[in-house]
Amino acid sequence: MSHLTNFEVFLLLSVLKVAVVLVITLMSVAYTVLLERKVIGYMQNRWGPTRTGPFGLLQPLADGAKLFLKEDLMPLAVERPLYILAPVIALSCALVSIAVVPFGAVTHVSLSGSPGVDMFEVANVNIGLLVILGITSIGVYGIALSGWSSNNKYSLMGSLRSTAQVISYELALGLSLVGVVLRAQSLNLRTIVEVQSTHGMLSWNFFGGFQSVAFFIYLMAAYAETNRSPFDLPEAESELVAGYHTEYSSMKFAMFFMAEYANMITVSCVATLLFFGGASSPFGHLFPAFGGAVVQGILSIFWFVAKVFAFLFLYIWVRSTLPRFRYDQLMSFGWKFLLPLAVANIIVSSLVLALRG
């Protein structure tokens, strides 16, 4: 390995990280769909998919193959370039934002004396939080353009609803995170996690940081951002056929579908990072660190995945429990309740932080 320069080592490891993260994200997207079908099935007292493989575990592969082999219909009246571009924007934005998420404890790996490369995060950016917010806000174009370019009234209604909803809830979402940033005094996701990892569960922003109000604002706004139940008006089946992706078929539909679940995963990752201590253990330093660096690394990944899984489960639980909002309820809830509450949270948090010095 001695003939590689530092930059080449960095490049190689980065490409490797990107590939691994991408594959894992896509696999978890596929299996979140299966999880949703199974869990909703059990909650509604039925089985969910059982026929493909043991417990239906091969169902995502079968679905993928089916969608891949389906005929790709191109309606005649669509605005062709934008119609094709829309699912690409939606999926790529959903997948890119995972790049700044730190999955595990800081673990530097170095090859033959090169400067260490952080293995559990694709890119450590010092405005990581803003990068996630920015990329999610670009993702709206996918939905907006799909509805408009489809030349279908249901699609257009769906995408208008979705755009209005996302813009409205983005404000509450962004403002709810300010308290967390104030506490960590940084927008770097690693630093935000570090601040919460001193005393285990007690120093998490949700408990010790007294950001529980902010967390619930974030959670509700995030459900609206990802167009999930009870805010799934953009694809309300009973009113809009399938909403913005009515005209899409085959892989283009699959891309929207994957984008929705990838966004769910990103939102769960951000909730974990900002309010529940990211990859840090809930017990803090209660137990002495056992094993080597490898065991500790795997343990941190385990905590992260467990927390994200809990959030995904909550998503599904909410979907099978709550009925859909009405449109005016949605808007007044966002603007008249969540937004003022988020502002109040910022004022109280900053006052407390200023008084404590």
């Binding site: 934008l82 950016v125 010092n126 405005i127 803003l130 990068v131 917010l133 920015g134 990329i135 806000s137 670009i138 709206v140 174009y141 907006a144 353009l145 509805g147 408009w148 257009l156 995408s159 208008l160 755009t163 209005a164 996302v166 813009i167 983005e170 962004g174 940084s186 927008l187």
Partner: protein, 168 residues
């Protein structure tokens, strides 16, 4: 590397701006403007202003342009008709634009020393945290202009509400 970034995204910004003028459909023009803003954001980032880049993406491409697209979709604006342009545009407008371009480049080039140059991408590898610098400047030395601008925007919002509100 940094020069490559500048060349690629500078060219993309110019191409987007030209496309914005040449496209006939408003939604295509709006999307070209998004491309311009995203390329500008990359240029800001390569100059070391990462907070400005993020703000550019979140505020301009993520909120304002989404509203533009939303309004275009809502009104279902069709393709516009192109005229050949008035004679005034050809006789005065184009030489005027060229003159302003020349003047601006002359000023920038001759006053380069006073403006304070920064190497493109010079900050990229240093990981400077310029959010704290920006906020310190905004809330200490520039506090009054900052607050006055906020009030100005508030006045605009109130005006919009007053206009949009129907008589009871």
């Amino acid at each position: 590397m940094q020069l490559a970034l500048f060349l690629i995204f500078g060219a993309l910004a110019v191409a987007g701006a030209l496309n914005l003028l040449l496209q006939r459909h408003p939604i295509n023009s709006a999307l070209s403007l998004v491309v311009v803003m995203m390329s500008l954001a990359v240029l800001y980032w390569s100059l070391g202003a990462e907070f400005l880049a993020a703000a550019q993406v979140i505020v301009y491409s993520g909120a304002i342009m989404v509203l533009f697209v939303f309004v275009i979709m809502l009104l279902n604006a069709g393709e516009e008709e192109h005229t050949n342009g008035s004679r005034a545009a050809y006789t005065v407008g184009m030489p005027g634009a060229a003159a302003i371009f020349c003047l601006l480049s002359f000023v920038f080039l001759s006053e380069r020393g006073k403006l304070g140059a920064t190497e493109i991408g010079g900050y990229l590898n240093r990981g400077l945290d310029n959010i704290s610098e920006v906020s310190a400047t905004l809330f200490t030395r520039q506090l009054l202009p900052f607050e006055v601008t906020s009030v100005l925007i508030l006045v605009a919002i109130l005006g919009a509400v007053a206009i949009a509100r129907k008589e009871q």
